[in-house]
Symmetry: C2
Subunit: 205 residues, 2 copies
């Protein structure tokens, strides 16, 4: 997931449509098209309907010799925190190919992508996270342009207080629990908008 | 999945950006933004980057008493062919909520959504299909506006030659096989562009 300077995070383009991308008109209505059930931005001039849909983030949980590969983020959001290699699925690629690509881009690592492990919906930001278990072919990796560092962590070394995203924290917690239980079912869940902590709990953990 | 008259199928909006949706400029470059690795439509006037990403189709494989619920499509594409209830995931909803919504909209059926069953990438059209196993609460259903008919089919009644989409055919074939095998693992796969059949095989099956 890349972000540039002074612009929205990549992929965050679910903002209002101000001009029609097909005819350039500024006459956009936000209404329910005929035969549809939800309001869309519809061009009053050419009739183009501008659908906006959730984006898919694909990533890997790469392991080598009982250890998990994490990347230290070099970019916002959550610069300086640790994450699994993951990013937006691109047009024209399969989910497995996307997960492998992100792992190479962010961690310089070649992996064999295994089973789908977590599928987490984030409805408040219209994203779907998919994390696959993966095996590092060799203990060879290096930070890509979006990472400051890449390391293998044993379970007791995981920097739990410095994990970048709730989806990643949940995936890692599930993983170490399932590893003890001896199986890795595909885990489907949702994360809602994070509630602000009440004042007396802020900073408590 | 709804389509209107004389327009592209809903969701098929991965076509070139001709005008910037934020400033209305017609000066769109197709280039690799700084820090990115793939070309995007970038506004030369305001700098807006127009990302285009795969869309997610969510649906259910609803069963009741060993039978599977199928819908007869009332709309293009594949009008007059049978399918599982499925459609585009909407912003602000989880994959499970979307699968349940589509099942109610297309089949008038209330279901308890179960495990993720198939996850099929269609890279040539930049779509991801997710089908969940689901239980009909009661044998009550009725065609919604996008369906001509809705019926429960035993395995030997499935209209295999009249299934609307390859994703759905694959899901149904897997399902009846896995049912015999006694388990339903999550099945991740891809379908590539369909090759045209050689002339002497056309119509052969």
């Amino acid at each position: 997931m890349s972000v540039g300077v002074a612009r929205r995070p990549r992929g965050d383009d679910n903002h209002p449509v101000k001009f029609c991308s097909q005819c350039g008109s500024s006459q956009l209505d936000f209404r329910i098209p005929e035969g549809d059930s939800l309001p869309r931005f519809v061009c009053a001039d050419c009739g183009e309907i501008h659908y906006q849909n959730p984006k898919v983030v694909v990533g890997c949980l790469p392991t080598y010799d009982e250890r998990v590969l994490l990347c230290l983020r070099a970019i916002e959001p959550r610069k300086g925190l640790w994450t699994l290699p993951a990013g937006f699925l691109e047009n024209g690629e399969s989910v497995v190919a996307g997960a492998a690509r992100e792992t190479f881009e962010e961690a310089g690592a070649h992996v064999d992508v295994g089973e789908l492990y977590t599928l987490i919906s984030l409805p408040h930001i219209s994203q779907i996270y998919m994390v696959f278990r993966a095996s590092l072919r060799r203990p060879e990796f290096a930070p890509g342009p979006e990472s400051l560092d890449v390391r293998l962590f044993a379970e007791h070394e995981i920097p739990w207080e410095r994990i970048a995203f709730r989806t990643i924290g949940r995936t890692l917690r599930n993983y170490f629990l399932d590893r003890k239980l001896g199986g890795f079912p595909t885990r489907v869940s949702s994360l809602e908008r994070r509630m602000p902590a009440p004042p007396d709990l802020r900073g408590a953990g």
